[in-house]
Symmetry: C2
């Protein structure tokens, strides 16, 4: 196929489902035609567009950031959960509570301007590497999904990220890596406070969560940011179920797509892990005929070369 | 001028300031050039893009909605603030407190799905008329601002609304009236709850405010939704000051624009009214050389014909 828009996808029913869907909604005059403005595609990020094992990449940032800030915080040596990170106590790290995580996020994501935070993330993401693949995290994105994003945009779709990850974190690299501009990145967010510092406007990141963009929060945030029901959604865990239901339940044609991590050799094989579960969404996919993508069978390449 | 992109604007320094600004930021190779993705223009709605006197249009919707729901709520006949509306008690209406308004918003904007609410607004906005101008509210938009929005988009700008008005209210007509799609409408918003009703996904509007998009909330929401600092902002009251400061304080060229209502004959003349004040923003405009548009002198037409 010389003009294959999805060369990293193996031929088969799942690739065909994508091609058929795009053909149907873009065929002017067809009964499943969708106008361009309504061609909204939403994607989870962690585990859907890039690797989330063995640790959410943003959590890797948090750990590195605690280590690099530690000299300014001698009290952290004795203070959980910071001391667990500084001692690299894997057992304690595996047992982090939500409250611990909130404290870590507050210490690493707040108390500075949005611009300063973006600079810190930019510096980190430009050098930090995945522990197993030994490549930049931004090179641990899935080549087939990059192709899918490009293919959708070439067909008049708007591509959006709808992730539990932090919006200020993802926006630093989303445009360069995925071709998705800041305004089309939806994520968890904290409150910010507008201030004039020496007459210069800044937004200061406060240690208070504003929106946790997971589960039922995803369709709510899609409504808030997009204002339209998507026609395509991609996810990889039960945290994406509500977004998949919101998309698949529209009047008219839709595509609900789940990435199933079943490739321990090239990436990871997991459905249940400390990061989340793929159970309810998989059951519903089976009942409703959603597209479950096997990383092992459907993708001839996982990462960009 | 045969190719005048702003025919409803009189020639003069304010029109020239707009033309000069757009020329400067779109001149490739010029030292004030701004790439397309960064050409973000944000506009307040009430009093900036459409008429806000004698009453916010959305408040007109609230009053009409209370009247039309009254038969289902016999208790409202005795219950403030509803009874004031039903009795058309202008004195009581003028004295509505924030708490009264919250009760009215909850009674008229919540307890139904987002789709049902949009239908109610659509029906109302399609027929309700301005009490003085006796034309549809959607025809009480400012022709010069429509031209400005078109002109900016023709020059690669993204145009956004950033209003204290309700996002679910404005999105019903913003695309048809202003050419601004739902995703580029930022406003005050309430919480919504995702539910499956008979297997069908819906979002139910809850009577709880999520974001009040006014004053310092405007730059915070611009960051949340756009993720980029605007290069052009338009407003008409002190509620827009933070957004104007956020825009004008960027590195590089910007345009901060204030609509001054000084035309009692064709529209209204006010700087201080129950709806808001134009004081601090006007003082800052004077100090910083922002563009203060006189409705009377700068616009040869106010409304579309």
């Amino acid at each position: 196929m010389p003009d294959d828009p999805l060369p990293a996808w193996n031929d088969g029913p799942n690739k065909q489902a994508i091609l058929d869907f795009v053909a149907a909604v873009t065929s002017a005059g067809g009964d499943q035609f969708v106008t361009e403005g309504d061609r909204i595609a939403v994607f989870d990020n962690d585990g859907t567009l890039w690797c989330e094992q063995p640790l959410y990449i943003q959590l890797g940032f948090v750990l590195d950031r605690v280590r690099s800030l530690a000299p300014e915080h001698p009290e952290w040596q004795e203070q959980p959960p910071f001391n667990a990170i500084l001692a690299n106590d894997r057992e304690a790290l595996a047992a982090l509570t939500k409250r611990d995580l909130a404290a870590l996020i507050a210490a690493t994501h707040a108390g500075m301007t949005t611009d300063a935070f973006a600079e810190v993330v930019r510096a980190w993401i430009g050098t930090a590497k995945h522990p197993r693949f030994e490549r930049l995290y931004t090179e641990c994105v899935y080549q087939p999904m990059l192709e899918l994003l490009d293919y959708l945009r070439a067909n008049g779709f708007q591509t959006w990220i709808v992730s539990g990850g932090g919006v200020d974190f993802m926006r630093v690299f989303a445009e360069a890596v995925y071709g998705i501009p800041p305004a089309q990145v939806i994520g968890s967010s904290g409150k910010v406070q507008f201030e004039l510092r020496d007459g210069r406007p800044v937004l200061v990141k406060l240690p208070e969560l504003s929106s946790f963009d997971d589960k039922e929060g995803k369709p709510a945030n899609i409504h808030l940011h997009v204002g339209r029901q998507p026609i395509l959604a991609g996810g990889n865990s039960d945290g994406d179920l509500a977004m998949l239901q919101y998309t698949a339940g529209r009047d008219g044609r839709s595509l609900a797509l789940i990435v199933d991590h079943d490739d321990a050799e090239r990436e990871y094989a997991y459905r249940v892990s400390p990061l989340g579960r793929l159970e309810a969404a998989l059951a519903e996919a089976g009942q409703r005929g959603w597209t479950v993508v096997s990383m092992k069978d459907d993708w001839n390449r996982v990462f960009p070369t």
